[in-house]
């Protein structure tokens, strides 16, 4: 097992750990908007770490180009979906939690 493979394994395991952390945040947070904030950890940190680890493992060929395309696509679309979700929740009369609650 070479150093590149060990590094990619560490990156993939860190990414899956951050996915678990984000889901724990979704369970523990008190409000919808804070849950949305916790879920963004999955979309950014977990995705970047796992896909970058797989790119390192695959080397430079068509597989890594496809992985890079998936990474770019997810990095564009998931913040858009999160923004649409927050806007729709505000429009649907869901109040953010304040200090008074």
């Amino acid at each position: 097992m070479t150093a590149i493979e060990i590094l990619s394994g560490i990156l993939v395991i860190l990414g899956s750990l951050s996915i678990i952390v984000g889901l724990l945040g979704v369970y523990r947070m008190p409000d919808f908007f804070t849950r949305l904030h916790a879920a963004s950890v999955i979309d950014t940190l977990g995705t970047i770490l796992i896909l970058f680890g797989l790119i390192l493992y695959a080397g430079l060929n068509i597989v890594s180009i496809k992985l890079l395309l998936i990474l770019i696509f997810i990095l564009i679309t998931t913040p858009t979906a999160a923004h649409a979700l927050a806007k729709s929740a505000l429009h649907g009369k869901l109040k953010p939690m304040t200090d008074d609650d």
Binding site: M1, E5, G9, V12, I13, G15, S16, L17, I19, I20, G22, L23, V26, Y27, F32, R35, L36, A39, I42, D43, G46, T47, I50, L51, L54, Y57, A58, V63, K66, L67, L69, I70, F73, I74, T77, T78, T80, A81, A82, A84, L85, S88, A89, H91, G92, L94
Partner: protein
């Protein structure tokens, strides 16, 4: 080498499904389904490397597309009550 991350991702898919079932508002459920889709894309990519057949990546790319489109369509349906509704606010005129 990818067994442990694949198992953790399967576990988080299960957690996302449970979160989608017990979510209080409709937005919590949509958020959980969106998380489930993102994690599924990562699971498909990892599963291809686990079985030494990375041809599954095309399916992962298509799944990411379907996930984004379905989230936005469901949100639009629950915000306006109609998928084909115009999201541009109507002119109110001089009041």
């Amino acid at each position: 080498m990818f067994e442990i991350p694949t198992f953790m991702i399967l576990l988080s898919m299960l957690l996302a499904l449970v979160s989608a079932i017990i979510g209080k508002t409709i937005y919590d459920k949509i958020l959980a389904v969106n998380i489930f889709g993102t994690v599924t894309v990562l699971f498909i990519a990892l599963f291809g490397f686990l079985t030494k057949r990375p041809e599954f990546l095309d399916i992962a790319l298509v799944y990411a597309l379907i996930n984004f489109i379905s989230t936005v369509a469901i949100l639009k349906f629950f915000e306006y009550g109609d998928i084909s509704a115009s999201s541009i606010e109507k002119e109110k005129g001089d009041i």
